[in-house]
């Protein structure tokens, strides 16, 4: 059974000084799916991501990745196993070039990242692959730009390219279209669709248009607990959901 699921949590709980931010969450993410995690602000979505990638330690509960218990693994090990996250606030290396951002991710598998005596020219073997990744997210023209000078939407695209560089089995995206104009949202949406081939994506997303067109399955969180779960059609008909979350936004 657990073979079908890339990621599974059992009674995942996080308490902050008596306040329960994530409450007994049982989440199952099926291999190959785009799985959306939605819910009002403060519902515990980001905290959930922090738990899954061990940026926070769960108070209780178990996390299984490919059936393996990773509840006590370090964030670094989890990334190495193939679960890579992005952040709600854009996560780039602002004063490095766009190309260097992607190379940082690619560089790990060369196994020379502790070699302080080697020239950084030895990293040039990664340039072709880095360029490929940048082209994939339409950033080829920006390769030599210092990242901080790019518009916001482009930075988020760069984040995707950097995450993709690790060829993760499971990508966690925290509000990838947050704060974007309409055109950027469309572009990022297509990007996510494109890169979802051959991998699993778990994403937090507020934009219901994005959620409805991309996701295979949706989990709704409210005050830290799972309100309901299912495909969009089902979830969007649920009266609790309509009231708690979609009521104001959904037609």
């Amino acid at each position: 059974m657990s073979q079908d699921f890339v990621l599974e949590t059992q009674s995942l709980t996080k308490e902050f000084k008596g306040f329960t931010a994530v409450d007994d969450v049982n989440l199952q993410v099926q291999r190959g799916h785009i799985h959306a995690l939605i819910g009002p602000n403060g519902a515990g979505k980001t905290t959930c991501f922090n738990l899954l990638t061990k940026f926070l330690t769960p108070t209780r509960g178990t996390i299984l990745f490919n059936g393996k218990d990773i509840t006590h693994s370090s964030p670094t090990d989890i990334a190495k196993m193939g679960m890579v996250r992005s952040f709600q606030i854009s996560a780039v290396f602002p004063h490095l070039t766009v190309m260097d951002n992607v190379r940082i991710a690619l560089q790990r598998k060369l196994g020379t990242s502790f070699h302080f005596w080697k020239s950084d020219k030895s990293l040039d073997v990664l340039n072709d692959r880095a360029m490929e990744l940048l082209e994939e997210v339409d950033l080829g023209k920006w390769a030599d730009t210092i990242t901080v000078e790019m518009p916001y939407g482009r930075k988020r695209a760069l984040e995707l390219a950097t995450t993709l560089a690790l060829e993760p089995e499971l990508m966690l995206l925290d509000e990838p279209t947050q704060g974007m104009g309409h055109e950027d949202v469309e572009r990022v949406m297509h990007l996510i669709k494109k890169v979802s081939a051959g991998r699993t994506i778990l994403m937090v997303e507020h934009n219901l248009h994005v959620v409805s067109s991309l996701s295979d399955r949706i989990t709704v969180l409210q005050r830290g607990a799972v309100l309901t779960e299912g495909p969009y059609e089902e979830v969007s008909q649920n009266p609790d959901v309509r009231e708690a979350y979609m009521g104001s936004e959904a037609a």
């Binding site: 990638t53 940026f55 370090s74 964030p75 670094t76 990334a79 190495k80 890579v84 996250r85 992005s86 952040f87 996560a91 780039v92 290396f93 602002p94 004063h95 490095l96 260097d100 190379r103 940082i104 991710a105 560089q107 790990r108 060369l110 020379t112 990242s113 502790f114 070699h115 302080f116 005596w117 080697k118 020239s119 950084d120 030895s122 990293l123 023209k141 920006w142 030599d144 730009t145 210092i146 000078e149 790019m150 950097t162 690790l166």
Partner: protein, 323 residues
């Protein structure tokens, strides 16, 4: 977007410009003792290396150590001790001193690196104070008197360093080696990750980098090079004393680095030269007792107005006007 795009010919041009600069500086370093008192130059070089080592940690690792005096002093004491007691040649003495400082750096790093910002600074300060009191008590440091009359000895057992000229070229060679190592470290695969960690630590973690290990390696290199500076200095002045272990020294290296420009490769060299020159000239005149006040004022002005330091401001100016 075109403003920041470097085409490859512009890149080549800046590389060859850098080469020219290094060649000129190397030449100046070689002829300098013909015009300037070599002992003064050696003092500048030792402190410049010390500040460069410190800068690797603050400017590229993003960690402010307030305990680098411990490494400077350890290099000096150990080198002085083994040269005097075991009679080893100067290069072996320096090597042993450097390794001991690096080992101490490993211990400090292990204890401090998990902490960030002010906590990191406080733990390194506390540890270096521990080392200071250890050196006050330990028999091999000579207590308040320090180690005096350390022989400069013969390089490789052949070349006498008793005269200032050969000593100068030996010190210059050490400085160039240390500087080259720092330069390479910054421009290495390791340096790339270090920069990534400084830029966005959580992101580096999420990409699978064990950031504490990278910081630890940087700290050990930094401590080792600070020790190299201390070891060399103890042979130049034939003296190792508690002054080097005092927290004032940890503060002074911060001043030198900030004054010159943190995170720039030449900043610490310029900062060290400025501070040492000021100390030397002022301490001979009527302002002698005002030296700490003057340095403090410079520090305040630097922090308030010239935030990127001398070299940083020059770079900014050049970028604005010539590119």
């Amino acid at each position: 977007m075109t403003t920041q795009t470097l085409d490859s010919s512009a890149m080549d041009k800046s590389v060859s410009k850098n080469r020219m600069l290094y060649a000129v500086l190397l030449f100046l370093g070689l002829v300098a003792p013909l015009a300037i008192y070599p002992v003064f130059l050696m003092k500048v070089l030792c402190f410049a290396l010390f500040a460069c080592a410190f800068n690797l940690m603050l400017g590229y690792g993003g960690l402010l150590s307030f305990g680098h005096a411990a490494f400077l002093a350890t290099g000096g004491y150990i080198t002085g001790h083994v040269v005097m007691q075991w009679g080893v040649t100067p290069e072996i003495g320096i090597l042993i001193g450097t390794l001991c400082s690096a080992a101490m750096g490993f211990v400090f790093g292990k204890l401090a690196i998990r902490r960030q910002g002010i906590y990191f600074a406080m733990i390194t300060l506390a540890l270096s104070q521990l080392v200071f009191f250890l050196y006050v008590q330990a028999p091999f440091t000579g207590g308040e008197n320090g180690l005096q009359g350390i022989p400069r000895g013969e390089l490789f057992g052949v070349i006498s360093l008793a005269d200032n000229m050969p000593m100068y070229y030996f010190v210059f060679a050490i400085f160039v080696l240390g500087f080259a190592l720092i330069h390479r470290t910054i421009h290495s695969p390791f340096g790339q990750i270090l920069k990534a960690i400084r830029e966005n630590e959580p992101r580096a973690v999420s990409l699978g980098y064990d950031v504490d290990k990278y910081k630890l390696v940087a700290f050990v290199i930094s401590a080792g090079l600070a020790g190299l500076a201390g070891s060399t200095k103890s042979l130049v002045f034939q003296l190792s004393s508690l002054t080097d272990a005092h927290w004032h020294m940890s503060g002074e290296v911060i001043l030198m680095t900030l004054l010159g420009g943190v995170g720039t490769i030449f900043g610490p060299v310029v900062g060290a030269a400025t501070v040492v020159t000021l100390q030397n000239y002022l301490s001979q005149g009527p302002l002698a007792s005002w030296v700490p006040v003057i340095l403090g004022l410079i520090f305040v002005i630097c922090v308030l107005i010239f935030r990127s330091g001398i070299v940083g401001e020059i770079q900014k100016f050049a970028k604005k006007n010539f590119s």
